[in-house]
Symmetry: C2
Subunit: 96 residues, 2 copies
């Protein structure tokens, strides 16, 4: 199958937001439910929930329902590689 550029963009876009990137970092450390993430992040709980939906639909997260809680986890083990690449890009370009 051909690598669809639309799917790729959806994945990348799902991390192209400060709150969602923060969520990814938090979930890389510890599987959590929406309420726990909300405590770290602030703002509206429903906003956090919607960010989680975006990330889950893009493929970054898996989730598991246990009683009243829904626990979210990072679905990949490549976030460090991904961010290593991101951090390697210098913003101060000596260009034309």
């Amino acid at each position: 199958m051909t690598t669809n550029i639309v799917d790729r963009v959806a994945v990348i876009k799902a991390l192209a937001h400060p709150t969602r990137l923060r969520i990814a970092e938090l979930l890389a450390k510890k599987t959590s439910c929406v309420g726990e993430l909300h405590q770290q992040i602030g703002g509206d709980l429903s906003t956090v929930s919607k960010h989680l939906t975006v990330m889950r639909e893009a493929g970054w997260l898996t989730c598991q329902k246990t009683g009243l809680h829904i626990y979210y986890s990072l679905a990949c083990d490549c976030l460090d590689d991904f961010l290593r690449c991101v951090d390697s890009l210098s913003t101060n370009s000596n260009c034309c």
Copy 2:
């Protein structure tokens, strides 16, 4: 220095667009000027130019002026790793 989440998001966001991702792929194969990229991509030339500015300011691109042309190149060697991570995420999540 602390890794600033705002800078990271700017880098990620710069690739979170179908045309810009396409540009990254094209430039990974071959250093090109705006006109050459425009031939591959279509649309308005000024739009392509603006996408290049976004990518350059984020750090993805370097550029070099030679006469009338401005040649753009990928500034990193980690695009493959980056995309490998992106492609590893399955969209069809078997979640709640």
